[in-house]
Amino acid sequence: MIKTSALSKTFPGGVEAVRGVDMAVEAGEIVGFLGPNGAGKTTTMRMLTTLLTPSGGSATVAGHDLVTGPREVRRRIGYVSQGGGIGPADPVGEELELHAMLYGMRPAEARERVAELLDLFSLTGLADRPGGALSGGQRRRFDLAFGLVHRPSLLFLDEPTTGLDPQSRADLWAHIRRLRDEHGLTVFLTTHYLDEADALADRLIIIDHGVIVAEGTPAGLKGGTGTLDDVFLSITGRSLRDGTTDEGR
């Protein structure tokens, strides 16, 4: 579903945010992409979602080349950014319908799909509310609905549960698991929460200083003795929340 080879990104000014990433994600997997702040997670995810153009290397996402077929990639992936994408003033249901139609759905089909998603994420009755009138958990579920409106085969989630209370986090985890189990969705997610990575991901890929430093199943990485925190610290020399901000890297 994702295959990268020597994928790199150097920003103007010479900052090498990603330095030759090789990785593969199989269909139906939930993969946790971990790294300390500034490790290159967000830059990698932004390249894989066509928001950034790679400086070097190659990548195939959902069967299409990232550089030569970005629109084909966009048709097949869903993306939920860290901050979400819901304006404060506009009715979310209307925004969701527009989003569906931008993927080629006819109006009736879009309305039907929106109703289906509202039901799936227990959001029925909230479609007429402006984004600013939703709770954090409701907003995050709407973000997921935006990412899934066109039935993508691959969903990118950037820090999906940041800022949510424990109950909302647990609800969201349940939704993500159900989407994989019932619909075969492939999920590629970054997270700052090791418990989240442990609970959700089939496999973890750890990036530091722009290169992949470890990958494996959570159990395999822990080796039956330590915790993921210990593993992470021993591999990167830093805890997950150390370092500079990841913004723009």
Partner: protein, 243 residues
């Protein structure tokens, strides 16, 4: 023709949003209406309503379409823009739909202003006024596209003060309040460098009932060139990876 369909979808959505913000539409036309009511009678002692009303229309265009980039600043901050950029929608549609939506707001404001102008004593022929409105829409497309491009390029906090400051000299140099033929030579020459003077002179010709003139042709050509160039620049900025 997915570009046309995507543009229509974005346009329709933006018009709905704009029409919900009635206060924005009203306040956008309030200042020119106050000029019409409080400055118009004074101006009418030395000029005509056919000179003043086109100037006020240009003022509406500059401050309404010229500030359109505000919307994209909010959309960028709330993540809406990034969400749209991950869809397969054409980049030109994301810009053009938004820009055409702004033009509808500008059209409503312009119609209100012209209608008020007639109430005060404007005697422009209706075909001339209608042609003038079309010219204003063309100008509005260029201005809104440029405004969106600037908003995506510069520090969002600086957008309002920079644009606000730029609009005033552009408005004065266009000859909106007094014809630039009354200006000293250097000021007259400077004003000819700005596109808005040419558009305004064409607008005044149309309001005077003169259609097939070189001034009208020049104004339409300038407005058209501005619209094409600004949409091209705006699309390029939309395509840029960090926009």
């Amino acid at each position: 023709m997915t570009v046309v369909r995507d543009t229509w979808l974005i346009f329709r959505h933006n018009v709905r949003i704009s029409l919900r913000q009635k206060a924005g539409i009203v306040f956008g036309v309030l200042q020119p209406l106050l000029y019409l009511a409080l400055f118009g009678p004074l101006f009418a002692t030395i000029g005509t309503w056919e000179i003043l009303v086109p100037g006020l229309l240009l003022q509406v265009a500059l401050f309404s379409a010229g500030m359109a980039g505000f919307g994209i600043v909010f959309d960028a901050r709330s993540g809406v823009l990034e969400r749209l950029r991950v869809t397969p929608a054409h980049r030109v549609a994301l810009l053009l739909g938004r820009v055409l939506g702004t033009s509808v707001t500008l059209l409503i404001q312009s119609v209100v202003l012209v209608a008020a102008g007639y109430a005060f004593g404007l005697r422009a022929p209706v075909p001339g006024a209608l042609a003038g409105l079309v010219l204003m829409i063309l100008l509005g497309i260029g201005l809104a596209a440029l405004s969106n491009a600037i908003a995506l390029t510069m520090n969002p906090d600086a957008f309002a003060p920079v644009m606000g400051t730029a609009m005033v000299p552009l408005l004065l140099l266009s000859g909106a309040f007094l014809p630039m033929s009354m200006a000293p030579g250097w000021l007259d020459a400077l004003s000819r460098v700005t596109p808005f003077r040419h558009v305004l002179e064409a607008l005044r010709e149309l309001f005077a009932g003169r259609y097939a003139t070189g001034t009208v042709a020049a104004g339409v050509a300038v407005a058209l060139a501005l619209a094409v160039a600004c949409v091209a620049v705006g699309t390029r900025v939309f395509n840029r990876e960090n926009a």
